[in-house]
């Protein structure tokens, strides 16, 4: 009897949740922040929602001198502190029987022998059936070592129908060459469909919301082109500084950290044509088409801007400047703010600039896509009555309060004909007892189910680097980024950059 003929399953039965099949998750980098704050709680929340198989196993791999109980305690503390759903003893019991810890180092073959034994023991005792996902929550420099060891110790291929998958976090390299090198390392060992690249900034829920908004409605698509759209602004702003990320951030900067993956992915989703279906392959195809039609500005000095935050006040707190942060050299020319103009050369978007900006220590934490429309070709009103009237805009708010805002003109009540902009808001429902999943929950569940649709494949990563590399190269040869005061909306050069095109940044 094949799986497809399980008589208890019915495609009509959409109430029934998809539970991952028997499997285990091997976590590299269990001592890291991400593992404790996001991954372990996400695993627990999945279990609490009944989406993990009864025999699920979680293996931790790290240098620490721990045994299984110590590891369980670490997970326990992480879950208690950070999980989204309430702590339940019975869920914990279900999970904790599958905890294993392997002490080891990435360059030590014996550690990986132990890992292999552990995995085999789990197949036997927990019924994980040889299905394992390896989550590399470790710096990219260690990827080659770990992936190589996995291969050498026969951990990368399951027997028969069993699967092995690998999850890697952004950054996917720091330029085209390193991205290719990284890809070569991973793809040598794992086939493309077993590699899951995770960009936690761009949760699946958000992507699906955008797809639904664009392609399930009749009223937006007709105006979604250069006939009506004046320009598009994509913003991702953080109110905090780099904090403890100095080691990673310095030398990488805002553009590589956020624009390459997050903002370009958002742009691709906003600009792409409708896919033949929402299957992984078709979605990627459309996104790749957009990314390969992108043209960067000829004059990078006029159409890009970068900045570095200075000391000042942010949200009522006195904060230090980037150069004063721990472990940052006084001469660092890493940008903490980046803004670029991109043009998409196809029939739909010719002449419509896409302005992408990101930064840390800005006014507030917000991610949004604003589609700004052209002014009405003729306004049958007097000059004075339309003075306060701006452009129509459709804003997709991505965080913190996911939703859609429509901005349009309306008459101010009264006898005078006076027009002013008003906003119409829609918010996605959201926070509920146990249903609205956290991004990592969906990511991990997708990995365990083998459901990759929205993860970028390597081609997209390469295309993004091709767009960004020349810009970052040019910046690196042109001195210091311009300072901007913490808590503001970026350096003056960013405003000048839009002013040159006769436009202004929206205050998000």
């Amino acid at each position: 009897m094949s799986l497809g003929s399980n008589p208890l399953r019915d495609p009509q039965d959409r109430r029934m949740p998809r539970i991952a099949g028997p499997c285990g998750l091997v976590l590299f980098g269990v001592t890291g922040d991400l593992a404790r704050k996001k991954l372990m709680p996400a695993v627990y929340d999945l279990a609490n929602r009944g989406l993990l198989p009864p025999g699920f196993a979680l293996v931790g791999f790290a240098r620490r001198d721990w045994d299984d109980e110590d590891f369980a305690q670490v997970v326990h503390d992480a879950v208690k502190e950070h999980s989204r759903t309430p702590f339940r003893e019975e869920t914990w019991r279900q999970l904790s029987e599958g905890f294993r810890f392997v002490r080891g180092q990435f360059d030590d073959g014996a550690s990986f022998d132990r890992l292999r034994e552990t995995v085999e023991e789990l197949d036997e005792a927990r019924g994980t059936s040889g299905n394992h996902a390896f989550y590399l929550s470790i710096p990219p420099e260690s990827f080659p070592a770990v992936v190589g060891q996995l291969k050498d110790h026969g951990l990368t291929a399951g027997n028969g129908a069993a699967w092995r998958r690998v999850v890697i976090e952004k950054p996917f390299g720091h330029d085209l060459a390193s991205a290719r090198a990284l890809n070569n390392v991973v793809s040598e060992v794992f086939p493309a469909e077993s590699v899951f690249r995770i960009d936690h900034y761009l949760g699946k829920e958000t992507v699906q919301n955008i797809l639904a908004f664009r392609f399930a409605n009749a009223m937006f698509e007709p105006v979604w082109n250069s006939n009506y759209v004046d320009h598009v602004q994509i913003t991702m702003a953080e109110d905090i500084g780099i904090g403890g990320r100095a080691g990673y951030y310095d030398g990488i900067g805002a553009a590589r950290d956020v624009v390459q993956n997050h903002l370009l992915q958002l742009m691709a989703l906003i600009a792409m044509e409708d896919p033949a279906s929402f299957e992984a392959r078709n979605l990627r195809l459309e996104k790749e088409k957009v990314l390969s039609s992108v043209r960067i500005p000829d004059r990078l000095d006029l159409h890009t801007a970068r900045g570095q935050y200075c000391a000042g006040w942010q949200g009522g707190q006195k904060v230090i400047g980037y150069l004063d942060e721990d472990d940052i050299s006084d001469a660092s020319n890493t940008e903490t703010y980046a803004a670029i103009r991109l043009d998409i050369e196809n029939r739909r978007w010719a002449g419509v600039p896409f302005y992408l900006r990101t930064g840390t220590r800005l006014g507030r934490r917000v991610t949004e896509v604003a589609v700004v429309f052209k002014r009405a070709p003729h306004l049958p009103f007097s000059q004075t009555s339309t003075e306060e009237l701006g452009s129509n805009a459709l804003v997709m708010r991505i965080q913190p309060d996911e939703g859609v805002t429509l901005r349009f003109g309306a008459k101010v009540p009264g006898t005078a004909m006076e027009l002013r902009d008003v906003n119409m808001d829609f918010a996605y429902g959201g926070a509920f007892v146990e249903s609205s999943p956290e991004a990592y929950e969906r990511l991990i569940l997708d990995v365990l189910l083998g459901d990759p649709p929205l993860f970028p494949r390597h081609q997209e990563v390469e295309l993004s680097w091709k767009i960004l590399d020349p810009i970052v190269d040019w910046w690196s040869t042109n001195g210091q980024p311009e300072g901007y005061s913490s808590g503001s909306w970026g350096p003056p050069s960013a405003d000048e950059m839009l002013a040159r095109d006769g436009r202004v940044w929206r205050r998000p």
Binding site: P7, D13, P54, R88
Partner: protein, 349 residues
């Protein structure tokens, strides 16, 4: 923003809603449905609290309808609240006198335009929800056999004879995690199931539905046994290789059994009403799988299922499935209570 209205009518309530919404700064944009809660003075607080919890996931206008005494002159009192920690609008309507029988006249003007209506009876519900005047307004009618205060044992079976697309019962919603785990068990160990056992407290409506669902999907005899609960304590699918089973003695943690493997604990806690409602509201189209199960339940006469527990073992292997298959085909060809059966596929597995 709270507004109390005494001795009022629907258009004054409408006006109060508008006023409250404007004063609260329009926190109610994006309401997706009208949620009518038909309750009584004793139960309305819990029911309205549950409805408000659900409205954080499904922003809605909640209309609580309290049917008071039929004595005295017709009278409507209302409490309108907007904001107050819920993401939609809430109106509590107290009906008394002759008006008790004409709740529709109050509810109709207060429905959100052009969006679905869901009616929920938190405790006692009409036997034929789709013919109830309030039920007729709704796309989805939610009952809860387990919360009925009268004749609980047979209530679902009797109601199932009146089943119409759009009817649903929380007794079914409660089964979702069980069903998912059983299906996962069968995924892991794909064997031919020869029979099944469901153990629950006496007259447990969810257990009846579970048995009906298994019978319908697996086409085997399902034995129903009485246990001390809480709720369902065990579901076992029998096969030549052993049982695929879920055993939950304490209402919280279950043992998951698969032939040839060690038992594993799996969390299977009983869920809060608000969670069940949220699952219910996630889809408002007809639940075909529930329809199948409920029709099997409707066909099984009073107590006939208990008798099947006494079928001698010799009969419960091959011949049984033949007999059950026959029973199923009768169900298909007989005039279905919904009249929609003919459009469904002839076999389901």
């Amino acid at each position: 923003m709270l507004i109390d209205l005494t001795d009022t009518n629907a258009s004054k309530v409408s006006a109060a809603l508008l006023q409250a919404r404007l004063r609260a700064g329009s926190p109610t944009m994006g309401m997706v449905l009208t949620f009518v809660v038909v309750t009584d003075e004793a139960n309305h607080e819990q029911a309205m609290a549950d409805a408000r919890t659900v409205s954080t996931e499904h922003p809605s206008r909640i209309l609580g309808v309290i049917r008071g005494a039929r004595r005295g002159r017709p009278r409507l009192d209302a409490e309108v609240s907007v904001g107050q920690g819920a993401s939609g609008e809430t109106v509590l309507l107290r009906l008394s006198g002759e008006l008790v029988d004409h709740a529709v006249s109050v509810v109709t003007p207060l429905l959100l335009p052009d969006s679905p209506v869901v009616v929920w009876w938190p405790t006692d519900a009409p036997q034929d929800p789709a013919s109830d005047p309030l039920g007729q307004l709704a796309l989805r009618r939610i009952t809860d056999a387990a919360a009925a205060t009268r004749s609980r044992t047979e209530i679902l079976r009797r109601r199932s004879r009146h089943y119409r697309p759009g009817d649903t019962d929380l007794a079914w919603t409660r089964l979702t995690p069980w069903r998912a785990l059983l299906a996962a068990g069968l995924d892991q160990h794909p064997v031919r199931i020869t029979g099944a056992t469901v153990e629950a407290t006496h007259g447990n409506a969810s257990a009846d539905l579970m048995a009906a669902w298994l019978r319908c999907r697996l086409r085997v005899d399902v034995e129903l046994r009485t246990s001390d609960g809480p709720g369902i304590t065990k579901v076992a699918l029998h096969s030549r290789h052993g049982d695929i089973a879920l055993h939950r003695p304490d209402g919280r943690l279950a043992d998951f059994t698969i032939p040839g493997e060690a038992d594993r604990p799996v969390a299977l806690q009983r869920r809060e009403v608000a969670e069940l409602l949220a699952e219910e509201l996630r889809r408002l189209d007809n639940d075909d799988v529930y329809q199948d199960a409920v029709q099997v339940l409707a066909m099984s006469g009073r107590g006939s299922k208990r008798k099947s527990a006494q079928v001698p073992p010799s009969e419960s292997t091959a011949p049984t499935s033949v007999r059950v298959a026959k029973q199923t085909s009768t169900r298909r060809s007989s005039k279905a209570p919904t009249g929609k059966d003919s459009t469904r596929k002839a076999t389901s597995s």
